[in-house]
């Protein structure tokens, strides 16, 4: 099913003859793009109007990380929403959502490298090796790279739907590790990371259930 939709998505994107629906989608995509960019604008605006508190660098670092995690989870909502609504075209938005997760993760990483460590590479290396939550964050960022590299239509085609799908299961790992990274940096109040963990568990659980039912159906 996922495979079908990917094929539908790619063929649609590459050679859709339905001009009117394409225009509609492109409008929606522009709108979605702006919505996704909003947290970033909000951070920039808050930063330069001194509204991010006494420790603005810490605030933007936390916010960018939070939005990276949020976009990962939003991306993982697409498929269950499709099952729920039957509106398969939703998958057309998924790539943008995923790339925004990467965008915020990159901002997060750059803030850490630049404004926390001031590109002091030996110190950064010590940090990655010594501090488990930094280790997890770093692995996480690296794990995003193959996903981004294979996000173009060309790459989907080159890999073939099945292999692409297999590779992109890495998203589950990245989302789980992102939750762990968040949980590990919290001092005592684990409420917020736990909320994200519950959401992720739900999103992965739905997939397991769906896969189980699919198997049953195909057996019958």
């Amino acid at each position: 099913m996922l495979l079908n939709s990917i094929q539908a998505w790619t063929s649609n994107a590459i050679s859709s003859k339905d001009k009117s629906s394409m225009i509609k989608f492109s409008h929606l995509k522009v709108l979605l793009f702006l919505v996704c960019l909003y947290p970033f604008i909000f951070m920039l605006w808050g930063f330069f109007t001194h509204q991010l508190g006494a420790n603005p660098i810490d605030t933007v670092t936390r916010l960018s990380g939070l939005w990276a995690l949020r976009f990962l989870l939003i991306t993982l909502c697409v498929t269950p929403l499709r099952w729920l609504t039957g509106f398969n075209q939703l998958v057309r938005f998924r790539r943008m959502l995923g790339l925004f997760a990467f965008f915020y993760a990159t901002v997060h990483m750059l803030l850490y490298l630049g404004l926390d460590q001031f590109f002091d590479w030996s110190e950064i290396w010590r940090d990655i090796v010594k501090r488990p939550f930094i280790t997890v964050g770093f692995i996480n960022f690296v794990a995003l790279l193959p996903l981004v590299a294979t996000s173009t239509n060309k790459m989907v085609k080159r890999l073939g739907g099945r292999r692409w799908k297999k590779l992109h299961r890495l998203t589950y790992f990245v989302a789980a590790a992102a939750c762990l990274h968040f949980l590990m940096l919290v001092k005592a109040d684990i409420r917020e990371p736990v909320i994200y963990i519950i959401i992720l568990t739900g999103l992965l659980g739905v997939r397991l259930l769906h896969a189980g039912r699919h198997k049953q159906l195909s057996r019958q």
Partner: protein, 319 residues
């Protein structure tokens, strides 16, 4: 020792931010950080206007004060760790606006291993002592720091009055427990009430003070009103806020953060760039208001005064 005045400002104009402006900034930030999640918090009432705070003048200057540039009043009063009011940095300034309830007199109990225990009203407790201004560095375990002009008096002077016995090896401090006034205590983030402790010689050290104000004014709720501890060579969480009990004890007190996570927080918690916290390197710190980080100093730069307290101790072990 203080005169209540309405219009007097000790602050330079540049350091004064209108209360409503900084309230709205806090709100902005709170929304920014918790959009949609964990934001079911009550709306905020009007704060006590800053010019109604008690003003302390005629403060004795102290040789222990640093010459370093002071952190702004706004930052000191809006960037706080005071989990009794919530775990975000903004929560205390948002939810401690009415704290402490003025209709109830604040009392401090002094008991344990001493010959002269008692329960003291706040005014009676503070009255015998000459208030001083102590401009201290404050280093948080999270890797940031401030320079704060405290108002207070040496804790040792108060402790001496209680006449501790020879069995008084440690001093234990307790924060108020009142979930009505302190909404953060409605959740078990830490074990309430918050407890801190010092070895008796640390408590008697002239650098250790009880503070009742900062920047020439009485303390705001978020800074630990009406009376709090300040131990400048230790990480900030040792400087317990809103104290209701001071107890002389023979055994090392079980302090709040040690109970929460003893592998990460030790009883001593002296500022030490060579002992990393698992989640933060302690080698550097960001001074609030500064862009670049600075090196963290052993004992937060107070080594000349306090290092002798720890001669012969392995500070990597007793962190």
């Amino acid at each position: 020792m203080f005169i209540k005045r309405r219009k007097s400002w000790d602050l330079p104009e540049s350091e004064v931010t209108d209360y409503q402006v900084y309230k709205s900034r806090r709100q902005f930030l709170n929304t920014a950080i918790s959009v949609g999640l964990a934001s079911a918090l009550p709306s905020v009432g009007l704060a006590k206007p800053l010019d109604e705070l008690k003003v302390y003048d005629t403060l004795k200057k102290s040789q222990f004060s640093t010459e370093e540039e002071k952190t702004t009043f706004e930052a000191i009063t809006t960037y706080n760790n005071f989990y009794e009011f919530g775990t975000s940095k903004e929560a205390p300034s948002l939810y401690a606006t009415e704290f402490p309830d003025e209709s109830e007199p604040w009392r401090v109990e002094i008991d344990g291993e001493c010959e002269n225990p008692g329960v003291f009203d706040y005014d009676a407790l503070v009255k015998p002592f000459t208030l001083e201004e102590r401009i201290y560095r404050m280093r948080c375990v999270e890797g940031w720091s401030m320079v704060i002009p405290w108002i207070g008096f040496p804790l040792g002077e108060l402790l001496k009055q209680a006449r501790p016995t020879s069995r008084a090896k440690y001093v234990e401090f307790t924060t108020l427990y009142d979930p009505e006034q302190m909404p953060g205590q409605r959740r078990d983030v830490l074990e309430w009430p918050y407890v801190e402790g010092l070895r008796i010689d640390e408590a008697m050290h002239p650098l250790t003070i009880l503070s009742v104000g900062l920047y020439g004014k009485e303390l705001l709720g978020q800074n630990g009103a009406p009376i709090r501890l300040v131990v400048p060579w230790k990480y900030g969480f040792k400087s317990i806020k809103s104290i209701v009990r001071i107890r002389f004890v023979e055994k090392m007190p079980h302090t709040a953060w040690v109970k929460a996570n003893s592998s990460e927080y030790g009883f001593y918690s002296n500022v030490n760039p060579d002992v990393d916290h698992p989640r933060w390197s302690q080698r550097k710190e960001r001074r609030i208001g500064e862009f670049l980080k600075r090196d963290t100093l052993m004992f937060n730069g107070y080594g000349d005064d306090v290092a002798e307290l720890y001669t012969g101790m392995d500070l990597k072990r007793y962190f």
